[in-house]
Amino acid sequence: MSTLDINNIGEFLAHAHALEAEAASQYADLAEQMEVHNNTEVAELFHKLAEIEGKHIGKIDDKAGDTPIPHIPPWEYKWEGGQSPEAVVDMDAHYMMTPHHALRMSLKAEERAADFFQRIADNTTDEEVRSLSAEMAEEERDHIKWLNEWLKKYPEPENGWDEDMDPPMLQE
């Protein structure tokens, strides 16, 4: 993996904020999609995840205090592969998905996020960035633990969980 160097607290906060915001907004979207498709169980789960990420945004903004956060266009963040590490791969969503799939999706995202913060912490020359980043990485790892716990309640469903015998609806 390439080295990730963020040596400026503003830049760091911008990344951290965007990372959480992106995740929150994605979860909210997914929750909505599940609602529209009558998958209420997973919709609730995504709502919950969105709420959690929302709280993270608050936390980061608190940490930022008066530190100026620069605006960075979405494509100029130093994300590996262009997307925020905590973004889930929404192409993996399915209207029949179960909480197991949703949690797996989220887990992968959290792992990438933890890794992202850890690498900044490892590489940065800025002490403030280092400590905040390490703190964030730790927090993401907490999530991972917690998600893993949660996941235990939802074992992987058998093959064929996504089988829909009905044809799609013809539309326009």
Partner: protein, 279 residues
Amino acid sequence: MTAETALAPKHSPRDYKSDIKPVWCPGCGDYSVLGSITKAFSELNLDPENVAVISGIGCSSRIPAYTDCYGFHGVHGRSLPLAAGLKVARPDMTVLVASGDGDGFSIGGNHFMHACRRNVDLTYVVMDNRVYGMTKGQASPTTEPDWDNALTPGGSGISPFRPLVIALAAGANFIARGFSGDQNGTAKLLKEAIEHPGFSFVQILSPCVTFRPDQKTWKDDVHDAAVDPTDEIGRAARRLMTDDGFNTGVLYKGEREAFQPPIGEATATVADLEGKFAL
């Protein structure tokens, strides 16, 4: 908030989203395209009321209602003339046109070519999933000839349409390819496309998880194209004619002036016109 945040866009991407919930299948690439569009609008600092999103018919063409901009969900295949009419009449509006591979390249193919030629300052986004999603999975012009489906069992047997080289041959001023799996990269392409004068064409590979679950592999197929988009047109033609359909990025940039006849600038009155008929 501090002084620097003032430089942030006036509107967040979310501000460009309406409260109407998409009918799309979860997993559909079009969700991400919607995200790219709103991100581009935000970065361009556009006021939502000065933006119009125009479309035809198809899953992808449902986008206008999901934005909180002005929109027109027209008839199948005619989004480009609808949008050209709007833009010529209202040059002050930013006009984005959203389409699918069926809407844009099958029934709408003629308008596509002529929009490229005419070079009205539009940004044309085609969500290409190589299938007619809305009507349940028939072959579109970009579908592989051996893709089995109910209407043409065993495959259409017809060689796929190459939208990018057609756009170039027809005169498009800006040609790019994006992938819905890269929401931010695509947002950047869209921003550039909107900023570029004249007709900009952006093909976005946007998988249909319902009828083309095989397209999940696209994320491994796409790759960055390291080209000089201002390349001489003959070389660009060769490049786009033989490309593999998966290289992404800005692939051509032209310098033609946008077509925009003056409007609203009267030099005579209606009475003057009538004078010509008077004896």
